[in-house]
Symmetry: C2
Subunit: 532 residues, 2 copies
């Protein structure tokens, strides 16, 4: 057979292609390196879609995690990490508590910095334990994956993809310091694309544009602070010098969980695919929750959650909130695991966990009190539920600003808000029809799409598996340095040519004038002398 | 009823919304202002799709045209134009013949310029006769359209959309001088996005980048030459000063007939939707063509067409081509209406018209000889047929360059090519497997999409009809001037602040130094005098 094949190389090539197509038709092999928390929840939706298409999915995850649990749907490869569940929970808890602590601006910044540092250290340690788990990595090397599917907010998955020489697909909303823009070579003019953490919209006056441009600088340092340890880890592991942008640049497709009903319109690159709404597939409520919702009567319910990382808050704050919730006739479902506030009104049900999207999808839901995480905000938009936003950290302030600027919700400062503020805001979004109308308009636009974002995400992961990447979508800008990209060398050259031409012309004119003057001078002088 | 409604404004609003949704569910009303030639062919495919969705489609077209003919599918509103079919055919014929005329570079440029000027004058006159056809415009005003669907290569449709205050959707590949980039505020760095007519790819060396940047200048003049008369016409008709970019900026959605398997990857804007392949829906061949194809035996056929505008060529060229075609065993179907060359070989069938896409879709088709119009090139890619390209004018040189740079075809210079060149190129693309493999790879990538481009195009036209536009996709960049967009004012301000700070610091230091020196000076002097 080998002899026959080698005698007909074209037949061999066709057979090999046919076999590989057949093997993929029977399902490809995908390596998934997820990020914990709400990030995992939307990724799992896409994985379920891929599983239904018959692909084999291998998920590598740390033994200790918030949400990533073994399931029958995927092959789960767990690896050990040097911390316990209690230590992890405590780290998250401490970080989230810092947000509520009072003190001077500087004190708070230092505390939040400490918290983020501890959390980052834990993530880094997790990544190190994955990469240096020799047995697991050998298994991955031998598994011959078609693609790696990962969340680039932590570049661990891309380090593995590089090591395995396998194309990768990213699922993300955004990365700290806008690294996704640098890594995709996506233009992002600071004149109308607000930077993260600036609290600005796309319509800025002069001073706001100054602020927006100046935010590039702290972003640069933030980037270095967050990603430098990963660059070091990757360089050691891959045994060559790499930076994190270098790594991320290699991704074939960026599945972006954003939509311009919420985000401000800005340039995109061909390998960026908008898939916001992947997590908005409502399922039937469990009997327990169905009963609560049905018992709420004509007033309906309010869904209240501060996200996967914050399930308890200081008692003083909890008491204030409880006080405010008593002022509305709606039943409030509050995800809260802390000590029960003494003034907890009858209309508030505390739950350790709630099926957020399924509750928001219920027609009896009147409002959504949220911390403004991108996951929750898009669920609010998808289900057309007006929001009261209490942003805590990260991109939540920006998300809250966007919802508010669209007239689809109200934002509260979680540190300064009083019981009355909460009550007023909640009553407004429930009773003032304009909030419902605005969120309904956003929802209509968001849902009016030619293909469900989940199908779109599944298609592009499969595309990369089928074609071993998507090099035809990779802009040549990746091969240019900063000066070349901005044509500064060309502009300098053309300027030099123009200046040189002007200089030579000027010199020529001067020379001609002088000759003329000299002649005149010479002609004159004798005349003068003659006249004398 | 009116009283009841006005007493409950919210009920009124809901009812009005419900009625408008219901009226659209039963089909919206679309005004179509098409452009003749191959542009109409792809637009007609989208219109057929929209018609099937139950929308009422009104097409306004000149009485004299190449392809736009009355049909039962749409309401056709024809308007008179001040030229006959013969005059129009003669203008097109003369323009196309200029391409083949020999002479110095300058002579040819002047002749081509003359030809383009005559054609442009005809299009402008057509537009003027549409806008000033009072009866027709009154009918359009009274018709209450949901959207205007047009090809912006001629801005006549958008002038009408502005007049009627109706949102618009554009279908295009590109506009002369890259106006689509300016009008959508789409960044297009000259360092890796080749300009039209430059014959460059996305990978350029320093001198090529200089050339690419310098091409902005002739582009600017070309733009003015082509569009200034339309700006004048629009300003008079709309009774306010407008430029053509101002007009085009108002479009809600730009349906772009391009794909990055052929075009070089570059930034996009959120309201640009890639729909290349709308025209690649093969239909069954007529008996006549089916018979020719079947009679071609194992060697199959070659499809040869120089596009809708060039159906005859000078006899000398035709004889050379006929000579070359005799050297291949394939049956060649040549769209040609001129005088039959005396040496026409037996394997060449001359036809006045051919179903290009349906023939290319036939498995017996081995090669495609084309002028490289975007329409034909995408049909070649869609059906995976390797190409011999003979570009004539416009963007055809760029298209040919792209196909050749992908190894999917060979380009010939139509003026300089000899019979041997044609024969060699044709044999190469038929017999050298690499051309077939490369076009097959492009075709696989092009066809591997989550939704058919025709459905995508139909969706977005309907989207604009349903939502009265797509303002959420409109970037705030439209409200900035050139200086603001590029942040030049902010950079100047920050530079001024930095320089001023440096200057003040320097002055302070100088002042301090002087004081120190003076003191020392003062202390020293008396010492000196004392020592004396």
């Amino acid at each position: 057979m080998a002899l026959v094949l080698s005698a007909h190389p074209q037949v061999t090539a066709t057979l090999v292609l046919l076999l590989s197509v057949l093997s993929l038709a029977a399902g490809g092999k995908l390596l998934v390196v997820p990020v914990d928390g709400s990030h995992w929840l939307s990724m799992r939706e896409v994985l379920d879609g891929l599983r239904q298409k018959g692909h084999e999915i291998v998920v590598v995850a740390p033994e200790i995690s918030l949400y990533i649990k073994p399931t029958k749907n995927f092959v789960m490869k767990m690896y050990s990490v040097p911390f316990t569940k209690e230590e992890m929970d405590h780290t998250f808890w401490r970080t989230s508590q810092h947000v509520f602590e009072e003190g001077s601006f500087l004190e708070r910044i230092v505390k939040i910095y400490e918290g983020v540092k501890n959390t980052s250290a834990m993530f880094l340690s997790t990544c190190t334990h994955l990469l240096y788990n020799k047995e697991l990595v050998r298994y991955l090397e031998e598994s011959k994956f078609d693609a790696v599917f990962t969340d680039p907010i932590l570049p661990c998955g891309q380090i593995l993809a590089e090591h395995l020489s396998v194309p990768s697909v990213f699922l993300l909303q955004q990365i700290p310091c806008g690294l996704e823009l640098e890594a995709t070579q996506c233009p992002s003019p600071p004149s109308y694309v607000p930077r993260v953490f600036t609290d600005l919209t796309d319509r800025m006056n002069f001073l706001q544009r100054v602020k927006n441009l100046m935010f590039e600088l702290p972003n640069y340092f933030l980037c270095d602070f967050v990603f430098q340890p990963y660059a070091k880890l990757a360089s050691e592991f891959l045994q060559r010098d790499v930076t994190v942008p270098d790594l991320l640049r290699q991704a074939s497709i960026w599945l972006m969980k954003l939509d311009f009903v919420l985000h401000y319109p800005r340039p995109l690159m061909p390998n960026m695919i908008m898939v916001s709404g992947v997590n908005c597939v409502p399922k039937k409520l469990t009997q327990e929750f169905e009963a609560i919702v049905n018992a709420s009567g004509e007033h309906g319910i309010v869904v209240f959650s501060l996200g996967s990382m914050v399930s308890e808050i200081p008692m003083k704050k909890a008491t204030e909130i409880a006080d405010a919730l008593a002022s509305v006739p709606q039943t409030v479902l509050w995800r809260y695991t802390g000590e029960v506030p003494p003034n907890l009104p009858k209309n508030v049900k505390l739950v350790k966990w709630l099926p957020q999207n399924d509750l928001l999808a219920h027609p009896k839901t009147r409002a959504f009190i949220t911390h403004g995480g991108s996951h929750g905000v898009y669920e609010g938009i998808c289900n057309a539920v007006p929001m009261v936003l209490m942003p805590l950290f990260g991109d939540q302030m920006d998300n809250a600003k966007r919802v508010e600027s669209r007239g689809a919700g109200l934002t509260l400062n979680i540190l300064e808000m009083t019981s009355k503020d909460i009550s007023t805001a909640l009553k407004a979004v429930i009773n003032d029809k304009k909030y419902k109308e605005n969120i309904k308009r956003l929802s209509d636009l968001h849902l009016d799409r030619p293909i469900h974002p989940l199908d779109l995400a599944v298609h592009w992961v499969e595309f990369v598996m089928r074609h071993k990447g998507a090099p035809h979508l990779r802009p040549a800008a990746h091969d240019l340095n900063w000066i070349q990209y901005h044509s500064l060398d060309v502009i300098a050259f053309l300027l030099a040519v123009v200046l040189l031409s002007l200089f030579i012309s000027f010199k020529c004119c001067l020379f001609c004038c002088r000759r003329c003057c000299c002649k005149k001078g010479r002609t004159r002088k004798p005349t003068k002398s003659k006249s004398h």
